[in-house]
């Protein structure tokens, strides 16, 4: 065997080895029901621009958006997760967290794979950063979801855990059907969605908890791959649309816990959403990629709560931590304790028709 033949042989084996490995690991293609995505613009050359969220992904044929769940197939954008929830739970509404919206009720919570942000501290990264083919979904039509909520006695349906905007069409269809069946709907979101789809969605949403992750654009860029302004726009738009709103801020040590940043955030909430908008400061625990960062010191959370109250917000809570009064609702006028909470447990609720029984002050919320 001469040298050239030997070289050809070596090259052939080297090329064939990975091919054989590929064949060995290939699983049969699964047929999935795809749903045409909305809010898209067709571009020349079979390209599509997705206008659902502020990323405005321009996708060539075969490409998938940042969210991992919207793909251009031959010039048409499809949602890969319509009818494919990967998480289904019947949660207490306090877990969302929503403290001023039908306390003590259960909410059927669901999510599909995917998210349009990539927060390095994500608490649900296993599903939010997953591609649809890497997780095992439950096949469920919107009607089946609503029926399941009815069967489980859920007071509402929550779109939560991952970013619901990425399964916009599925969420909208469920929400619409839920309203027809007199079931409330809740959006738990990072708020990274464009105005048009948001207003369409808002018609079918009763309450929302928006994660305002920080109050600096640099923070959003470095930790989430998103930007701040679109989230602020979403918060204002939801308020305009009449959706009941609560806001959550996960306090991450060294990232967004500067007292001045906290004060600015609280001030913005007061000026733009109203002083009676509930604000939750949540404790960070190391997860996903941010695993060399300590949990938020309890003192930091307490200080954030005090600062936000001083800025004039009426209802400020701390979460993900057991405290004496951080989860309780107090009357902003007479300062009496109105609702006691321990974790997910709602203790005594002293509200009378949404009013403080001691001074008659109307307490903001959907009770």
């Amino acid at each position: 065997m001469n040298r050239v033949t030997r070289l050809i042989l070596v090259a052939l084996i080297l090329l064939l080895t990975p091919a054989l490995f590929y064949l060995a690991g290939r699983s049969p293609d699964e047929v999935s029901l795809l749903r045409k995505a909305e809010y898209t613009v067709s571009l020349p050359g079979n390209k599509v621009r997705c206008e659902l969220c502020p990323h405005f992904c321009t996708l060539s044929d075969g490409q998938t958006g940042i969210c991992k769940v919207r793909r251009n197939i031959k010039g048409t954008l499809y949602s890969l997760v319509y009818g494919q929830p990967v998480a289904l739970n019947n949660d207490p509404v306090e877990k969302k967290p929503l403290f001023h919206f039908r306390p003590g009720t259960k909410t059927l919570s669901l999510a599909t794979a995917g998210c349009n942000l990539n927060c390095n501290f994500c608490q649900n990264w296993e599903i939010s950063q997953a591609t649809p083919d890497s997780v095992t979904p439950y096949d469920m039509t919107p009607a089946q979801v609503v029926a399941l909520a009815k069967k489980n006695g859920s007071d509402s349906i929550s779109f939560t855990y991952t970013e619901p905007a990425v399964f916009f069409e599925y969420m909208r269809d469920i929400a619409k059907l839920a309203h027809e069946k007199r079931i409330k709907t809740i959006l738990v979101s990072c708020g990274y969605i464009n105005e048009k789809p948001l207003f369409e969605l808002a018609k079918y949403i009763d309450a929302a908890n928006i994660d305002l992750k920080g109050f600096r654009d640099e923070f959003y860029r470095d930790y989430t791959t998103g930007r701040l302004q679109p989230v602020l726009d979403t918060l204002r738009d939801l308020k305009t649309a009449g959706v009941f709103l609560e806001v959550t801020n996960l306090v991450i040590p060294g990232a967004n816990d500067d007292p001045e940043e906290t004060r600015k955030l609280a001030r913005w909430v007061k000026e733009n959403l109203g002083a009676d908008t509930p604000l939750h400061f949540s404790r960070f625990f190391p997860k996903y990629k941010l695993t060399a960062r300590a949990p938020t010191p309890p003192a930091k959370l307490a200080a954030a709560r005090v600062a936000a109250l001083k800025e004039g917000l009426k209802f400020v809570y701390v979460g993900n931590i057991a405290t004496e009064e951080g989860e309780d609702t107090f009357c902003p006028k007479c300062k009496k304790r109105l609702i006691e909470r321990d974790g997910f447990a709602v203790g005594e609720n002293r509200l009378k028709e949404g009013k403080c029984p001691f001074c008659g002050e109307k307490i903001h919320g959907r009770w």
Partner: protein
């Protein structure tokens, strides 16, 4: 003049290679530990760093011929000084390089970034080390069989370096030096680093901020002192799996806070907290415990054996990200617990969960442990909390009935601000229980056993996905196709041996280089297998790694020395390696004790040294012959170590890894017999 010449030659041929080996062993051990911490404590980095190490050392060795000035003996001391400086400098490179791949302090790197950082950090030292070996051979040209002589001294140096590290860990631990510690502290921004200590099982750091003290194990958050919601939930749920436990043993749980939470809720029970790492009891404020809490450090099987039967045994350890941890989730360990503690005991095992949001890897991890528990216990119950709990027993105590849990919670006064009836109802919510159970049940995986660490494999898969490089379907499909894997990898290893023989045919007889490749590979894979056996059978590893290097290199040194004194066929020691692998297959499931494994490691080194020493005997004194030998040796160890040592073990089992080592030795015999044995280049 004559005396000076003799001592100069002695220095060149003996001292320099010895120093090279010593520096290599020290640098490798220290750097790999630092890299592991900087990249997120992913054990894969050890395999990555070692392979890159060998790759770049090989490249350095091959490059030797492009630097004619290095062939002058006088350059060698400068090369070694440069290597020493690089070793220290490399340490300070890790943090800035890791930071350049991540915008955020303390963030785990993606796997591609991890490989890049490891490569960039390792390059200078490896290239210098790679250049130094043939330079040492060149400097020893006047000696008989210079390559063998240099290899002998380098092996001795490595043994000495590893022994020094083992004996004087504090001296060689960089965090003991304020200059490095200050540099290192930046990774814990915004916290202040209180202290940092290296111990038998890795590094423990403690930080403080705003009155909160946090602990980090190998650079990863492990828990906080004091109030801790997850620990309260864990303790509450665990304690409701037994109606009224009086004797409780917790394996782990100190840093996570569950030991504190358990002690606070059960002041009248005797609680034994078992931690492997003795240093934990020195750094943790153990004075917060009452008299009912007994603290024991040591190997859990040994500690448990000395204890009277316990009623509730809790395993609160991190997910099995290593073979050593995987053993505590294995069928054999569960069997030991049942036998020792009797039918009245309840075992509770904590694992990653997800509150109804299970990733496929997490489901498979849970499934592998569930299967192991079901093999041993009559009752196995899942508590689908944030952290999944598996309660198992040969009695009816374990329960997933929220009413029973709440009744036990109230009777034993376990409820607190977080752990209460609402939380219990949420955790045992019927739909969650049903969906989680179904997700775990349909996960395709094997039962976790000592020699088949399926839980370790699933944890690796989970970590790989977390770090942005999910294992491709081809890898996860391999366990179902063992024959295919062995055929392909066997062909690949043979091809590599042939490739090396072909590449260096002008400097070394193909029979020699091909056999060296296989023998190095076989010996290294056997060494890895023995290390793993030590982990799973005896349970200690970190402080034994250096000792393993010592015994292996001592064996190699002895083997090479013997090979220079007596004549024998190269086939004999290679055949003995194959036989040793076969024998190991038979005794793999029995513990030979730490001494037994270290002794076997020495024998593997001895057989490797006897083979390689003999194979390099007819080496001649051609220029760069050291390069060919060094590359064949390194490539064999790196490639086979990765394929058969690191990859097969989690994919298949330890026996496959040992069998592969035996097959490699047989391929080595085949190479020595069949490949051309003429003078190089002819």
């Amino acid at each position: 003049m004559a005396g000076g010449e003799v001592s100069g030659k002695l220095g060149r041929s003996i001292l320099f290679p010895f120093l090279l080996g010593l520096l290599t062993a020290l640098t490798q051990t220290i750097l790999i530990r630092e890299l592991m911490i900087a990249t997120g404590a992913f054990e894969l980095v050890v395999a990555v760093a070692l392979s890159l190490w060998m790759l770049f050392t090989g490249i350095g060795s091959i490059s030797f011929r492009f630097f004619p000035f290095l062939q002058r003996g006088k350059v060698l001391p400068f090369l070694l000084i440069a290597l020493s400086l690089a070793a220290v400098g490399q340490l300070f490179l890790i943090a800035p390089l890791a930071a350049s791949f991540s915008p955020v302090a303390g963030m785990a790197l993606s796997i591609p970034a991890m490989v890049a950082v490891a490569a960039l950090v390792i390059i200078p030292g490896c290239i210098l080390g790679g250049l130094a070996f043939p330079a040492c051979v060149e400097a020893a040209r006047d000696r008989r069989e210079p390559t063998g002589a240099v290899y002998l001294m380098e092996s001795g140096g490595m043994a000495a370096g590893a022994l020094l590290f083992y004996l004087f860990l504090d001296l060689f631990s960089p965090v003991n030096y304020p200059v490095y510690r200050d540099h290192y502290a930046a990774r814990y921004f915004p916290d202040t680093l209180l202290f940092s200590r290296d111990g038998r099982y890795g590094r423990l750091d403690a930080t403080e901020r705003e009155g909160q003290r946090a602990y980090f194990r190998n650079g990863q958050a492990a828990g906080v002192a004091g109030e801790n919601r997850p620990a309260e939930e864990f303790a509450g749920l665990v304690l409701t799996q037994h109606p009224a436990p009086h004797r409780i043993a917790v394996i782990g749980g100190l840093l996570s806070g569950s030991a504190v939470a358990l002690a606070a809720r059960m002041p009248h029970a005797t609680i034994t907290v078992i931690e492997q790492e003795p240093m934990l009891f020195e750094i943790y404020p153990t004075d917060i415990f009452g008299k009912n809490v007994i603290l024991r450090s040591g190997e859990p099987v040994a500690v448990m054996t000395a204890l009277p039967p316990q009623e509730l045994i809790i395993i609160d350890l991190p997910d099995p990200s290593s073979v050593m941890l995987s053993r505590f989730f294995s069928r054999e360990f569960f069997h030991f617990l049942r036998e020792h503690n009797g039918p009245g005991a309840v075992i509770v095992v904590g694992l990653s969960g997800g509150r109804g949001m299970l990733a496929p890897e997490t489901a498979a991890l849970n499934r592998s442990v569930q299967k192991a528990l079901q093999e041993v216990f009559r009752e196995v119950v899942l508590v689908p909390a944030d952290h999944h709990l598996w309660a198992a027993a040969d009695n009816d105590f374990p329960t997933a009935d929220p009413a029973v849990v709440i009744e036990r919670m109230e009777r034993n006064r376990l409820n607190g601000t977080w752990f209460n009836g609402a939380l219990v109802q949420d955790i045992f919510e019927p739909m969650r229980r049903q969906l989680t159970t179904a997700a775990v049940k349909r996960a395709a995986t094997r039962e976790n056993r000592l020699l088949t660490p399926a839980a370790y494999f699933e944890t690796l898969r989970h970590t790989a996905r977390r770090l942005g490089a999910p294992l491709p379907a081809v890898i996860t499909a391999l366990p179902a196709r063992p024959l295919f894997f062995f055929l392909i990898t066997g062909a690949f290893a043979t091809l590599c041996a042939a490739g090396i023989a072909f590449f260096f045919r002008r400097r070394m007889a193909p029979a020699q280089s091909g056999a060296i490749f296989c023998v190095s590979g076989s010996a290294f894979v056997l060494q890895l297998a023995l290390m793993t056996l030590l982990q799973v059978q005896v349970g200690q590893i970190y402080h034994f790694i250096a000792l393993f290097t010592v015994s292996f290199m001592l064996g190699t040194t002895a083997g090479v020395s013997v090979s220079r004194m007596i004549s024998y066929s190269s086939l004999l020691p290679i055949a003995a390696l194959a036989l040793l692998a076969t024998a190991l297959l038979w005794v793999a499931d029995r513990s030979l004790g730490a001494t037994g494994y270290v002794a076997l490691d020495l024998i593997v080194g001895l057989l490797g040294g006897l083979s390689i020493g003999n194979l390099t005997r007819n080496y001649g004194k051609e220029r760069s012959s050291g390069t060919a030998f060094y590359v064949a040796d390194l490539a064999g160890a790196a490639l086979c170590g990765l394929l058969f040592g690191a990859a097969i073990l989690p994919l298949y089992d330890l026996r496959s890894s040992i069998a592969a080592a035996g097959v490699l030795a047989l391929i080595g015999m085949f190479a020595a017999l069949v490949m051309p044995r003429g003078q190089p280049g002819r």
